[in-house]
Amino acid sequence: RAHSNPFSDHQLEYPKSPYAMDWESFYPGFVNQETGKLNKKVEIADIGCGFGGLLIDLSPAFPETLILGMEIRVQVTNYVEDRIIALRQQHINNKDFFKKYQNINVIRGNAMKFLPNFFQKSQLSKIFFCFPDPHFKNRKHKARIITNSLLSEYAYVLKEGGIIYTITDVLDLHEWMVKHLEEHPLFERLDKNWESQDECVKIMLNSTEEGKKVTRNNGSKFVACYKRLNNP
């Protein structure tokens, strides 16, 4: 199915706290052989990662950074998992690419409810929201991924100076996201000049499956990026 109700009591698995999360099994290529532990934390999150296009393009762009996709739909999550396993397999014997695709993974989860169960305060440097569910009906607006109250949670998991990336082909949703980010005291918009020079914006415009579909249909893509300001 294309949509999922973020408010329902899904049979979700999520860690009791960020400290209880077993990240080692997600990024085996980055596990320190001596300690058996990861010596870094996830720093980039793709919320509602869909079929994983963004993750796969971000992986070589940030080879030393751990990247996690979150997706609420089970089948889609399974698909991305298989895709990452396959990519890792293809590169496992190539010495030059030992760590290729070892820095990305996906997890099934409801980010609107349980994001703080996965990430500690100020852990992330980038959060992506690519082509989120527009929830057109007025009474469904609370189900949108960008709301005033959820932005406070994103601000909590983002470090100061961290960035929220948003892209959508729905003008109404774009305006909604901009309005709420503008209203939030902890975020400040990055200008068009910055956007044109940022590597992630380039990747975000062209890598996701949704983005490619929009391109095929000659649709518009609306981008807005915001910097996490310091706490007052």
């Binding site: 973020p6 408010f7 329902s8 009591d9 899904h10 049979q11 009791k16 706290s17 960020p18 400290y19 209880a20 409801n110 609107m112 409810k113 349980f114 703080p116 169960n117 305060k121 609370k142 709301t147 005033n148 109250s149 959820l150 932005l151 406070s152 949670e153 601000a155 909590y156 939030h184 005291p185 902890l186 706490n231 007052p232």
Partner: protein
């Protein structure tokens, strides 16, 4: 037969008992049992639906007018009906679900079901003179409706604001004394959970350089306890992680502001040093209450936790749903919790309250024999609870003075709803 008290609240000195029964609020004087003030919510249960109907009619009329301007075409406009719930649909009740005294005890705040509103009462209106002790009287100063049903009430430290949490997970802050009614569509939440809010308390941290800093601590159905700055509520301080089921009750002992006690749908009561720097260091102690819960309840559903103190005896009272006993625990200085005693009762306990002196621990019961309350005192030497003959008379007279009579226990309003917070899987 008298209807049980759904909610009981006493003031700091234990002089008055504020109660809710169905859609009535009543105030009793605890030393005589006399009923000193009452208020009845007479707003129609269907008010929200009627308002929606009126709006729709207005909208249709407008559309009709426009149509007539465009062309003189006959429109088939019907007056919209008020929807009638089908068989098996949950009943809509009209009762007071929450009662809270402001810290200065000048205001009583309740929530009503009928119009999803909070009702604010000024208790000593026009009698601020201290010469004579005037009994509190319920004078309604504000009835503020909300878009979703409010379910938890709290006031900030200096009683400037009322903090309201609702079933949709949002919390609002409203000036307590202002009589202005804000249209529901203009209300802006100060924070939100993507889950039903179950409790909200205001905490004061003195940790950072002796400055008193206010935080709002909120609990929800998704095991979360969140600590947020107040009034800068867009800055989240931390989450307190450890619960594995819904959290239903938060309690900060009045003598120990850095300590938080929490309970809900799992087998443990937890104590936290909530203002510590990192959330991983906050959990102080888990206390397993399962073995003290009577056999007829499979699952633990904590309704309420209160803290009381007499001399050096620091106690926690833990009320679990549909239980014939109240669990009394000792709260040590370190936050450690130790079993003290089980207060066995003849009937299932609906609500508990206590004052700051430790001289009044009051229990309200679900029964049909007009014995709706029981009073306990802590013995200052032994720390044990006792109920005296004099107390028994007071209990009876308060019960007798309650104005809400029903014919059968079937007419009781639902007294137990905490267990419904437990999640039911979708598949």
């Amino acid at each position: 037969m008298k209807h049980p008290f759904q909610i009981i609240v006493t003031d700091k000195k234990g002089e008055y008992l504020f109660t809710s029964v169905k859609n009535h609020i009543q105030i009793f004087k605890t030393c005589t049992g006399e009923l000193v003030s009452t208020w009845t919510d007479d707003v129609d249960v269907d008010i929200t639906l009627k308002q929606q109907q009126a709006e729709k009619i207005k909208q249709l009329e407008l559309e009709q007018q426009q149509k007539e301007i465009e062309e003189t075409h006959e429109g088939g406009n019907k007056i919209p009906k008020i929807p009638v719930p089908g068989a098996g649909a949950p009943t809509v009740y009209n009762y007071i679900r929450t009662l809270k005294l402001s810290r200065n005890e000048q205001y009583l705040i309740g929530t009503t079901d009928s119009d999803k509103a909070i009702v604010v009462f000024s208790l000593f209106d026009g009698s601020s003179g201290d010469d004579q002790r005037v009994p509190p009287a319920l004078k309604l100063i504000k009835r503020q409706p909300f878009p979703k049903r409010p379910c938890t009430i709290s006031t900030n430290y200096n009683d400037e604001f009322i903090i309201v949490g609702d079933k949709f997970g949002d919390a609002y802050s409203l000036p307590i004394a202002s009589q202005e009614i804000i249209p529901t569509k203009d209300l802006v939440p100060i924070l939100g959970h993507v889950s039903m809010l179950t409790d909200a308390v205001i905490g004061i941290s003195t940790r950072e350089g002796g400055n008193q800093k206010e935080f709002i601590i909120t609990a929800d159905r998704d095991e979360h306890i969140r600590v947020t700055n107040f009034p800068l509520s867009y800055v989240i301080d931390k989450w307190l992680f450890d619960h594995e089921e819904f959290v239903s009750s938060l309690c900060i002992p009045w003598w120990k502001p850095d300590l938080l006690i929490s309970g809900g749908g799992d087998e443990y009561i937890r104590s936290w040093d909530w203002s510590k720097e990192t959330s991983n260091d906050c959990l102080l102690f888990r206390f397993d209450i399962k073995e003290y819960i009577s056999k007829d309840t499979e699952l633990v559903n904590v309704v309420k936790i209160i803290a009381l103190k007499k001399n050096d005896f620091a106690k926690l009272c833990v009320l679990t749903e549909k239980n014939h006993s109240l669990l009394i625990l000792n709260l040590e200085e370190s936050g450690k919790i130790v079993f003290d005693q089980l207060l066995e009762t003849d009937n299932s306990i609906v609500d508990i309250t206590s004052d700051l002196t430790g001289d009044h621990l009051i229990l309200s019961f679900d029964n049909d024999n007009n014995k709706l309350l029981k009073f306990f005192k802590i013995n200052a030497q032994t720390g044990q609870f006792s109920n005296t003959e004099a107390d028994a008379n007071l209990q009876d007279s308060i019960s007798q003075n309650s104005i809400c009579d029903v014919d059968t226990t079937k007419a009781f309003y639902p007294l137990y709803h905490i267990s419904q917070l437990r999640k039911r899987g979708e598949h």
